[in-house]
């Protein structure tokens, strides 16, 4: 039995001491920073989830941010200052995201911070930004709890709160004459802050309109095998299926439907189906036909700057317009908002950004954005449908490229 370790603990102490001394010194060095002047680069800090659970979208956001940096610098930067974005990794960890924003603001002394991806990290990150008076333009994380924070520094760069993503689908279905409407509905929802509430919003409107709910279940995020859940759904044979989905689970739902040969007349998936490359890859290109989803951006969008954005994106990353993830667009739009604020006010600092963005409406790739006092955008999403192998806008009518196609054709496999 050995209960004493006196000799060695000294080593431990020394190591710890050396480590803290090193840290303190480096902090002192970093505080001897350079005073910012008009010609110094505009430093922007972003933390993204580049490894871990949310990393795929994190990488898409990274592409958007870096593309914007390149494009804005081509134009000579913002107010003559070149833009330099520092992207750090939070590995999808809530501790790391707090560390990262604290470091960006107090160690690297960036001028501006922008939002993280994933959305679950948005609230802790936005609290750090707010503490130091930083504006917080964020392209992901638009759940009700984010706006319930009542953070006046926050601006969500999508057309509406994420949970309102299904409203357009409800609008479309309820616009149908009663005889053509679905009679029964099934809801299959991922237990997550965005997906399930989105489907619940649709459910509330459908039930109010007399569409009977025949199946309504939530599944946990680790559910790898969706076939048992979908077999229960299929047994009820609803006319319309609303999937509150995020990504992998959307593919798993569709694969299960194909395997169980259950093809509802209308199928709406909140997320996952909006991914232009992954969705056809995962479920088979010929199975996408007729699936509804909602999105904030589409390649044929008429928003100003879209063509230039696509051209630059394809030049930098390859692929085609249809392969651009809307997350990249959102991150890019977060950047262009800064440009617009600078162009309008001739200044670029956090106070100006916050005060300015709260007034008026701001054209971005996401359409014209305007926010309430706590950063909730006041627009609406677009209903898109897979038609002829491409995501096509079908609702609202004003921006529709095509009329909605119903019923959905049977699965091809």
């Amino acid at each position: 039995m050995k209960l004493s370790n006196t000799k060695v603990s000294k080593r431990g102490m020394i190591t710890a001491g050396v480590l803290s001394a090193a840290l303190i010194t480096s902090s002192l060095l970093s505080t001897v920073g350079v005073a910012a002047n008009a010609a110094s680069p505009l430093k922007i800090g972003v933390s993204l989830s580049l490894t871990g659970d949310f990393s795929d979208s994190g990488l898409a956001a990274q592409r958007g941010y870096l593309l914007w940096q390149q494009e804005v610098n081509k134009k000579g930067g913002i107010l003559g200052r070149s833009v330099s974005i520092k992207i750090v990794n939070d590995a999808s960890s809530p501790d790391q995201v707090v560390t990262n924003y604290t470091n960006l603001i107090t160690k690297d002394k960036v001028d501006i911070v922008m939002g993280p991806f994933s959305s679950l990290l948005t609230i802790p990150a936005s609290r750090v930004a707010k503490r130091y008076g930083y504006s917080f333009i964020e392209p992901a994380g638009g759940g009700p709890k984010v706006f319930a924070e009542k953070n006046p520094n926050l601006f969500f760069v999508q057309p509406a709160a994420t949970t309102k993503g299904g409203d357009v689908f409800a609008d479309y279905i309820l616009s149908l004459p009663a005889s053509q409407r679905p009679k029964t509905a099934g809801y299959v929802k991922l237990d997550d802050p965005f997906a399930a509430p989105l489907a619940d919003n649709i459910k509330a409107r459908f039930e109010a309109a007399g569409i009977k709910t025949v199946y309504d279940q939530t599944y946990p995020s680790e559910t790898a095998d969706m076939t048992p859940v979908v077999s229960a759904l299929a047994a009820k044979n609803p006319d319309v299926v609303v999937g509150g989905t995020q990504s992998a689970d959307a593919f798993a739902q569709v694969k299960a439907m194909i395997q169980l040969k259950f093809s509802p007349k209308w199928l709406f998936l909140s997320n996952g189906a909006s991914s232009p490359l992954e969705f056809p890859q995962q479920i088979g290109a010929n199975n996408t036909e007729g699936v509804f989803t909602s999105s904030d951006w589409y390649p044929k969008s008429t928003a100003p700057g879209t063509a230039a954005f696509i051209k630059a994106y394809v030049a930098k990353y390859g692929g085609a317009a249809t392969s651009i993830d809307s997350t990249s667009t959102e991150a890019y739009s977060a950047g262009t908002l800064l440009e617009e604020v600078a162009a309008k006010t001739g200044k670029i600092d956090n106070k100006t950004i916050i005060a300015t963005l709260h007034k008026g409406s701001w054209p971005t790739l996401e359409g014209n954005l305007s926010w309430n006092a706590y950063g909730e955008p006041q627009g609406s999403y677009l209903l898109t449908q897979w038609i002829g192998g491409a995501l096509t806008t079908v609702w609202p009518k004003a921006t529709a490229q095509h009329a909605p196609v119903a019923p959905k054709p049977a699965w091809k496999n």
């Binding site: 871990g52 076939t227 077999s231 229960a232």
Partner: protein, 292 residues
């Protein structure tokens, strides 16, 4: 009733896949008393290997298993030889947990670098085909996977029971000291055994990649399921883990189909705890410790 039968079919097929995945882990635990936390990562590695080879050669994924199995065998044997063998016997059981966890992280990192983190799946074109039999849907891939599991388990059984190497393994498991005295090189046996256990993840990975979208992070979900199966099966009993995998597959399918999926995990874990408390060596715990 239709739903119950359909859920039973789905659960049985899924259970077969888990049985395949868990057999390797059980083997490793049986031989070395090592809870291999990297088994899930090896399965994902198997899936990526199969995917790459399939995209390159267009050979059917099920045939590719013949190619990927030896590769993973060597990866596994190397892991044992270079990372686990040097551990001192006194700490081996506990430290191997940490080492295999580090291996899992390393593999995840490696796969993230090589393949990014985009979700992938293996798509030979028939992955979603189903046969309709008397109104029930039987997915082709899952059915083949089920057959493959049985085949692999039979092969594993034959290797352990009928070959000289298998006898050496069993001798080592039952009594490492006397096995060594009888001239069995226990280091070599361990390396072979670990290699064999990891080699099963070639087949498991191919099947996993066919039925589920995956990315390098998928191993976390896999390992928690595999651990459950292995424990329920009695830590080290291959027969037990096969039964446990079937029970889990069918149980999860029934709960998901007939009641609320959100409570299925909770129910399952509660059952697991009760089993562990009543029979600490699992439901089908080997009476003689180490008997495979």
């Amino acid at each position: 009733m239709h739903l119950v039968v359909q859920a039973l079919i789905l659960g049985t097929l899924t259970g077969g896949v888990y049985a395949l995945m868990a057999s390797g882990q059980t083997l490793i635990f049986g031989i070395m008393k090592v809870i291999n936390l990297a088994q899930g990562a090896y399965v994902v590695l198997g899936a990526y290997l199969t995917m790459s080879l399939f995209q390159w050669t267009h050979i059917d994924p099920f045939l590719l298993i013949l190619l990927t199995t030896p590769i993973l065998f060597f990866v596994g044997a190397a892991t044992q030889w270079f990372l686990l063998r040097p551990l001192r016997p006194a700490d081996a059981t506990e430290l191997s947990l940490l080492v295999t966890f580090a291996v899992a992280l390393g593999l995840e990192g490696l796969m993230s670098v090589m393949y990014k983190t985009t979700l992938r799946s293996i798509q030979p074109g028939y992955e979603n085909h189903s046969w309709t039999i008397a109104g029930y849907q039987v997915n082709e891939v899952r059915f083949y996977a089920f057959l493959l599991s049985i085949a692999m388990l039979v092969i594993l059984y034959l290797i352990l029971q009928k070959t000289k190497f298998g006898r050496a393994i069993r001798a080592t498991v039952q009594n490492p000291m006397s096995a060594q005295l009888l001239g069995v090189n226990s280091n070599l046996v361990s390396a072979f055994g670990f290699g064999l256990g990891v080699a099963t993840s070639a087949a498991a990975g191919a099947v996993f990649g066919l039925i589920t979208p995956f990315n390098p992070g998928s191993h976390y979900d896999l390992i928690s399921r595999l651990l459950t199966v292995v424990i329920l099966g009695g830590l080290g009993s291959i027969g037990g883990s096969v039964i446990a995998a079937m029970v889990m597959g069918v149980g999860a399918a029934l709960v998901s189909a007939l009641s609320a999926p959100v409570w299925s995990d909770f129910t399952f874990f509660a059952v697991l705890i009760i089993v562990l408390l009543v029979r600490p060596r699992g439901m089908f715990g080997a009476k003689v410790r180490g008997a495979l």
